[in-house]
């Protein structure tokens, strides 16, 4: 299919505001009489607040109000609270003070006296799993995502059965198995049995999750930093204690989220509760240190993987056990995603997965770009190298041999895929990178520098379905595309809206995107997370636009004779195919729709849409031609996002530092919707992957539960000088059959394949040193080169 808009670059409507400073993020709004909120955070990793005396603070001039856990809805554990009397990590907010200035609010916090009763705390999941080990939650140590907590303890015998540097393996929380795993290992020519650790690391979005709120006529106006729009609203309404229609979310711009602002987060509602209490608008500016506490981080892993390979390198059996180091909340199920990812990317003939998520007294964790899949990539890709080198197989060949295709089934339920072209992506990347030549450079010395060549792959689900498309053709002929997806910064809110213009055959200049504010009558859309937007929202907008198109054709037939089939759309008109001079402009058609009423102007609508969409349609009814429909386009199998990265480094054997000389990222994301946007994702994912592989981790003092990294210089997101000055990109651009324009998502795996490619390159430069630990930091490399023992114990977590 030839497209007019899809696959072409354009200037997204929000970019000018970004470069002029006019883009308004949550902390950029002001109101006369606005108060400033500051949070008092727990200094202890686990405690009960026994007494709280804020009387001296409240006496201060300019202090207007206080909010404690007693003033806000109780969100039951293990979900994150709004405020708490049972702090479960250093930084857990206990109370908020509102004052006429930040200065006064900050000074007032120092006058609050709190008596804490310390509780036992735990940083290392294995300590919690040991009999008698501390539990974060009253209801247990295993916190299920969006579920309850339960208690699972392993036996002392489980621990004793493992050697000191092996993962003990007691009862898991989840497990599945397919094929005969034990027979697979028995038949394997090579078995690798490896213990690994992947560090958790914070999302560290540039915009801290500041929030601003006020009330008017019973409605709560909440300005929050959000990746999503309508998808968040029901939860925010619940947290604020109002009906969905009374929660007005304003979130036009989001200064980065990476998964941490995808769904509603309770602390964003602190200014709403405070504002309700004191009757004035409230601004809560979140500090960088607070963002490290409240802003989420990736789950850490302790695990073991056993891999059985045939002589040719085919993975015939895999056995994965993941202990997840979660935070003090219901952590995202990365541990389960890792099992699915192993099954999908490496297609073992038989596989067993077991996993258990353990809550620890560290900040809440959440989905971060490739949650579970990207940790798994960092574990597996170096081991694929190890297997290849041991078996004497080319490192690319072993990956191709095991790579999925469109017929692959995976996981315990043997799920299917909509399409998969990972092998094509790998070949595309290998060609761009010149793999055959580059691999010969592996190990080449130039003074103290040695060349390392790495390759990595990763996966994430790449789309969803069943959401509502909504557009309105106004009487002036403008096409207003309503999107509730949010604006994460990927521009996909805009590029997927162009499907509407594609379907309606209209110019992009004639389209207006309505978004960012509940008052703009937005449809029910999935949030902008999980690499789903390109797939989900192209389907969704297609559904809304097809509905509008059908109505245009019907109106034309009514007015000009014949049937709808005799008409088509193009050039902002609906026209008679046999004689295009017989036509209605969109403006005329919209006016006719208003006159006709009923379904044409939104007075009637499809019943299968979400109540949020219906309310929006109702509000727009009678103002133009309304296209509104649920995405009922057929689906078949999971649409995967797949990607590979090739990296060349020069590693300095005297300092443990390396320079990334070449980076090639290639994506299999179906039809390319927006090349510039895709290139941003491939490079940006690469930058985050470079951080994950070599720089970023959480560090906690095991003695007192204190976090060591609460600033950028400690948490170390990559800077300009830590990444290559130029990063090459490629893509397969092969349509997915289940999407009307062939698109699939892509954002997340680009980080995992880059991270694993870098680790692969480091191990390659070191002549085959596999750390089984992410990140690989300079001291690990130096110790390896100097033949010194590593400072950490094999299963240690949160260490330096």
């Amino acid at each position: 299919m030839a497209f007019k808009h899809i696959g072409k670059n354009f200037t997204p409507p929000d970019v000018r505001a970004k470069v002029t400073g006019k883009a308004k993020y949550a902390e950029d709004f002001r109101a006369e009489g606005m108060l400033f909120i500051k949070l008092l955070a727990s200094p202890m990793p686990h405690a009960i607040v026994r007494n709280l005396d804020a009387s001296e603070a409240l006496k201060m001039d300019g202090v207007v109000g206080i909010l404690t856990a007693d003033d806000v809805p109780n969100i039951p554990e293990p979900q994150m609270p709004i405020l708490t009397n049972h702090p479960k990590y250093v930084g857990d907010p206990i109370l908020a003070i509102a004052a006429t200035s930040e200065q006064i609010a900050s000074d007032a916090l120092e006058k609050v006296v709190i008596e804490y009763e310390p509780r036992p705390f735990v940083i290392d999941p294995l300590v919690s799993l040991f009999p008698g080990g501390p539990d974060v939650h009253d209801s247990g140590n295993v916190a299920l995502f969006r579920g309850k907590a339960e208690t699972i303890k392993w036996t002392a015998r489980d621990f004793a059965a493992a050697a000191e540097n092996e993962l003990p393996r007691g009862k898991p929380q989840g497990e599945w198995e397919h094929g005969d795993v034990d027979e697979g290992f028995a038949n394997a020519a090579l078995v690798l049995d490896e213990t690994f650790v992947v560090a958790g690391h914070p999302h560290q979005s540039m915009e801290p999750r500041s929030a601003f709120a006020y009330w008017e006529n019973g409605k709560c106006y909440l300005h929050a930093s959000s990746q999503s729009h309508t998808f968040n609203v029901p939860d925010y309404a619940k947290y604020c204690g109002v009906e969905t229609e009374d929660l007005i979310l304003i979130a036009e711009f989001c200064g980065g989220g990476f998964g941490s602002k995808g769904t509603a987060y309770p602390i964003a509602t602190i200014p709403a509760h405070m504002s309700k209490k004191v009757g004035r608008p409230c601004m809560m500016r979140i500090t960088r240190a607070e963002e490290y506490f409240l802003g989420s981080r990736r789950n850490g892993f302790q695990g073991n993987v056993k891999l059985g390979f045939s002589e040719e390198g085919r993975l015939i059996a895999a056995d994965l056990y993941v202990v997840q180091q979660g935070g003090a909340n219901d952590s995202f199920p990365d541990y389960a995603n890792a099992g699915e990812a192993l099954s999908l990317v490496y297609t073992p003939e038989a596989m067993r997965w077991k996993g258990i998520p353990i809550a620890t007294n560290t900040p809440p964790t959440g989905a971060q770009r490739g949650p579970g899949q990207n940790q798994l990539a960092c574990v597996m890709e170096p081991l694929m190298d190890k297997a290849a080198k041991t078996l004497g197989v080319d490192r690319l060949a072993i990956r191709e041999l095991n790579a999925p295709d469109s017929n692959t089934t995976f996981g315990g339920r043997r799920s299917t895929l909509s399409s998969a072209y990972l092998k094509e992506a790998m070949r595309n990347g290998a060609e761009r990178f010149n793999w055959e030549e580059k691999k010969k450079q592996s190990g080449q010395r130039n003074g103290s520098k040695v060349v390392g060549i790495g390759v990595g792959q990763a996966f994430h689900p790449g789309g969803s379905s069943g959401f509502d498309g909504l557009l309105r053709i106004a009487p002036d002929g403008k096409v207003h595309i309503h999107t509730g997806v949010g604006n994460l910064g990927t521009y996909s809110y805009a590029s997927t809206s162009r499907v509407s213009a594609e379907v309606l055959g209209c110019s992009w200049e004639n389209c207006v995107i309505e978004r960012g504010d509940s008052r703009r009558h937005l449809p029910w859309n999935l949030g902008q997370f999980g690499s789903n937007t390109s797939y989900t929202m192209t389907r969704t907008n297609y559904a809304g636009a097809m509905d509008a198109k059908m109505k245009l054709l019907e109106i034309a037939a009514m007015d000009m004779g014949g049937t709808a089939d005799d008409y088509d759309v193009g050039d902002d008109k609906v026209f008679f195919k046999a004689d295009p001079s017989k036509n209605l402009t969109f403006a005329q058609a919209a006016q006719r729709a208003i006159e006709l009423g009923g379904k044409y102007s939104g007075e009637e609508m499809n019943e299968d849409m979400h109540s949020i969409t219906k309310a929006s349609v109702k509000a727009l009814a009678g103002t133009g031609l309304i296209g509104a429909a649920k995405d009922n386009h057929p689906s078949k199998g999971l649409p995967p996002a797949l990607a590979t990265t090739f990296i060349k480094i020069e590693l300095d054997v005297e300092t443990g530092k390396y320079e990334i000389l070449e980076y090639v990222g290639t994506a299999d994301c179906g039809t390319v919707v927006h090349p510039q946007g895709l290139e941003h994702q491939i490079r940006g994912g690469g930058v985050m992957g470079i951080g994950m592989a070599g720089l970023e981790r959480i560090v906690y003092d095991p003695q007192n539960g204190l976090p060591a990294n609460i600033g950028f210089h400690q948490a170390k997101p990559p800077s300009y000088l830590d990444v290559p000055p130029e990063m090459d990109v490629g893509y397969v651009d092969k349509p997915d059959p289940t999407n009307p324009v062939g698109a699939r998502g892509i954002g997340e795996p680009l980080m995992g394949c880059a991270a694993s490619a870098l680790i692969s390159a480091i191990s390659d430069a070191l002549g085959g040193v596999y750390f089984n630990r992410t990140p690989v930091v300079p001291d690990m490399i130096i110790n390896a080169l100097a033949d010194r023992p590593q400072s950490y114990k094999t299963l240690q977590v949160s260490n330096q």
Binding site: T11, P12, P13, D14, V15, R16, K18, V19, T20, G21, K22, A23, K24, D28, R30, A31, E32, M34, T100, S101, E102, Q103, D107, M206, P208, Y214, E216, Y221, E252, F253, C254, G255, P281, T287, R288, H480, L488, G489, A494, W508, E509, V512, I513, E514, G516, R520, Q676, E679, H680, R683, G684, G686, V687, G711, F712, H713, P717, P718, Y720, P725
Partner: protein, 220 residues
Amino acid sequence: MANDTHQDANANTGQPPVFEEARDPVTRRAFIKSVIATGAVASTGGIMLVSLSGCSDDATPAAGSVERLVNLNINGKSRPVDVLPNETLAMTLRYKLGLTGTKLACDRGECGACTVLVDDVTHNSCSTLTHSVRGRAVTTIEGLEQPDGTLHPVQQAMIDELGPQCGFCTPGQVMSGVALLKNNPNPSREEARQGLAGNLCRCGAYDHYLNSIMRAARVS
């Protein structure tokens, strides 16, 4: 409001209501009100201004300490403003002058999101005391656009190359780019990389920002 592009209908987002504060007869208060008025006129966002963040009426300065009422040279205009001794330039700009294009991302001089020019030299405004820029020319992101809407070449290049992702670090990246090109109109890519090295971007748009700087250097 902020978004002035024709395809984005978000023209009047989130105008909060006005809450009248009790009138305060103190002279300094009146002065602040006049500051507010000035701020409202000069601010680009058309938003309602302004709260008195950072101001505390109970502070009694020690003898010889700085005068709180100062005139600042911001984007070529003299702006009267009441500044506490411990107040950072970022807070003054954002909360007293309505110049919210300067972003606070770390408030510790670690990320560059709050970068402004002081006498054409990049400063992290979060780590600059406002009192230290008295008598010096401060340029913020709002000061780059010509009255006729023409953008600075760095800004225009960032549109043409689609430099930003989420946009939160973008004003700081622009300011570092502007300062770089003032000193070195034809930088190499490596010089541009070094020049912008103090500006973090978590989205990882570095390559696109560098492309933008190089384009701006070519066209200007």
